[in-house]
Symmetry: C2
Subunit: 452 residues, 2 copies
């Protein structure tokens, strides 16, 4: 039986050192969308792993490199940590109370871009290993790290990376990039992600915009072509009209419904925070709203662009128009399926002139809530949080978990240092120091029960 | 019988002086859309009229002032010149070969923003009056000028101005802002303008954009609301679906069809210049294309804006979406009719949430091609151009001619110094010096026959 009093004492005694290391990592900008500081940040991560006795490889991907680290441990089991060193753009800068790349402590929180998503989680894993190494002089199991630099731009090279490095990444289980407590201070275990198929649809009808007084009656209008094409995808009843789109959809299992029913009510919070006056399809709240939120696929217009968009009027007939459209996918839909069906549908509806530009996609994937590893991690929270984690079988967002589940065959859990006010992706991103300690302690417990 | 040899000799001898005066006017920026230099330009116009013995009033409108000028003449008939001193924005500046507000002579042309539209026309009227005054020491008839400063922003205060100054503006006929020759060097007489009703349609479903992974299945999406609402306005067969929209439409008269049939073919030019591969409604060219171009009302999407419009993907569900929509109207449609029917239609289709913001409108209006004044002006071109003008009974664009025709009851003709390569509204706007002389000579002939 591991003596956690020694480990916890180490964590409490060395908190300042770990925060200093985290601050150093946060001070290194690494904005994937702006291709800013990625190689420098990868080198810093590699250095932090090397300092802990890890064998490190900086693997090229065609984009930002993946930092791979590996160190053997006592048991022959292997735990894989997936994290990322890239961050969201910090803009709008004027809304930050302290500069985003100058980590600042105030009111028990560390503020910086990426301090929560995902650098705080990464360094908290290092901190947990430091405490265990200090107490035991060895790791309890084999540890591997995959730290990518493109998570905030749809992990565009990660799927291929996992496929081509499958043997190197072989493991028994995986801890995902983050986690933590919700607004009730309840530790949450999110197990599945929806898939996504993100496309840009565009129409081009002429070389140049024309005067609407001349061409309006006789020239094709790209904006109209786009509107009519979009209208064939989904009607006001929200039913997606692409033939075959729903065929692979599997409804949530009774176990998933049971878990969703146990989650807290969200409707009032949504109404208040986002200022919406009703939900779609007559939903008002309860488990029905939560189930619809994640177990129904979507077709969302994320953006529209055409012609004149300034103040007042300009009388032109636009040569070009485009829409960003995001399909969220549920088991067992795939981006390939959607792309194929979308093209066939547009052609059949008379819109073969509409171009489809695929901007990224991932299939949905989830870990079985009754997997023994999941149960072990959920229970292991009790010692830190006074209660086991609450399971969310699937969330509405997407991420690159599919190849880890389907190629590497790993159960994936989430665990971390986050809290509900962390302002992830927003100005004043922050991390609570008390959660940093708790989340790190939880990681030491996970390593312990996993290695036993 | 007027001795035009003396008048023409004056024009040829004083061309440089008039170009210098025009250059001074063009050097004064007067961009209505940017509220730049309007009062200064109005003062300059007033000064040019005063210098010619005109009684001048600078009338406030709530926007840019109208410069009104009046001078009595020999006959008791009154001719009203409508012009404007404002110009289009000069952007994109990098495409100009010489600075837009530094008038430059090269290759027999004067280059400057507004040199054609409309300052060249205005100063050519002054030049014609100078020549007549030099020869006859009096004007042949009463002359009035209405020179507005908001033509390039839909003449937003002119209708009200004409109504409230109707007695002051009383006249027997009106010469419109411009005119000139087409690509065949044929002087053209455009007699009618379509109306316009320009609106912005917008949807707002939330306070803020939300993450598409969360809200996609359950939150209303402003972009979808807008697309569905637009789709109810017009289908791919181009038929406008607003009930009653076509009820007031009067087809072109046999005389108008005859005049349209006599106009040159445009289809090849349109295909080549604008890079379009087909016309709407199966049209291929001929008089059918020309009739559709101006005698059918339109519903044109001029612009679409919503959500994320940058490169790559961003997964948001937009809180707001808007479209600029321009209806071109034919006799006897009106903007009021369209606004009323549009609101009722959107409400009936379940889109009472779509806001309509009216951005400007004017009813269609036209002058009878067989009006004696028109015939007189058409014939008067023969001495200058070697042939009478060719009549275009209506063009597809819009303008503020309606109150002049319907309130002041004036026949309106077009006459001027333009040519087909003038790059109106575009970089390198220019005016041919030979056309400046010819157009000005034509104005002297129009004054002569009108006053007789």
């Amino acid at each position: 039986m591991t003596n956690f009093s020694q480990i916890d004492a180490y964590l409490e005694a060395h908190l300042d050192e770990s925060i200093a290391e985290l601050s150093k990592l946060c001070a290194q900008p690494s904005v994937a969308a702006q291709n800013w500081g990625l190689n420098e940040c990868a080198a810093l991560v590699a250095q932090m792993l090397t300092a802990r006795g890890f064998h490190v490889e900086i693997d090229p991907t065609g984009g930002a490199p993946v930092v791979f680290g590996e160190r053997k441990g006592r048991s022959n089991k292997t735990l894989l940590f997936y994290n990322h060193y890239d961050v969201q753009p910090a803009e709008p800068l004027e809304l930050w109370d302290s500069p985003p790349f100058e980590p600042t402590l105030r009111d028990g929180k560390l503020y910086a871009r990426g301090v929560n998503d995902d650098k705080g989680h990464l360094v908290s894993r290092f901190f947990a290993l430091d405490a265990i190494l200090a107490a035991q002089n060895e790791l309890p199991c084999n540890i591997k790290f995959v730290v990518e630099g493109e998570e905030e731009i749809s992990s565009i090279h990660l799927k291929e990376y996992v496929h081509s490095h499958a043997a190197k990444l072989a493991a028994d289980a995986c801890v995902w990039e983050g986690g933590g407590v919700d607004h009730r201070e309840m530790p949450m275990q999110a197990l599945g992600l929806r898939g996504i198929c993100y496309v840009e649809l565009s129409a081009e009808c002429a070389k140049v915009d024309t005067h609407s007084g001349m061409g309006g009656s006789i020239f094709p209008n790209a904006a109209w072509r786009l509107v009519w094409a979009l209208n064939t995808l989904k009607g006001p009843d929200e039913r997606i009209l692409i033939p075959g789109f729903y065929d692979p959809v599997k409804p949530p299992s009774p176990r998933e419904v049971e878990l969703m029913a146990a989650l807290p009510e969200t409707s009032q919070e949504y109404r208040k925070h986002f200022g919406i006056d009703h939900f779609l399809k007559g939903l008002t709240g309860g488990v029905e709203l939560r189930l619809a939120e994640v177990y129904e696929p979507t077709c969302t217009i994320c953006g529209l662009t055409s012609g004149y968009q300034g103040p007042g009027s300009k009388t032109i007939l636009p040569a070009r128009a485009s829409a960003k459209v995001d399909f969220r996918l549920v088991p067992d839909q795939t981006p390939d399926q959607v792309l194929r069906q979308l093209r066939a549908h547009l052609d059949a509806q008379g819109f073969s002139d509409i171009q489809i530009n695929f901007l990224g996609g991932e299939p949905p994937a989830r870990t079985d809530p009754d997997d023994p590893f999941v149960q072990m991690v959920v229970e292991s929270a009790r010692e830190v949080y006074g209660q086991p984690m609450q399971i969310i079988p699937m969330i509405g967002g997407s991420g690159p978990n599919h190849p880890f589940i389907e190629v590497l065959h790993l159960p994936i859990v989430s665990a971390g240092v986050g809290h509900s006010g962390a302002s992830v992706h927003a100005p004043n991103e922050n991390m609570r120091l008390d959660m940093y300690l708790k989340g790190t302690k939880h990681i030491t417990r996970i390593l312990d029960v996993f290695s036993a």
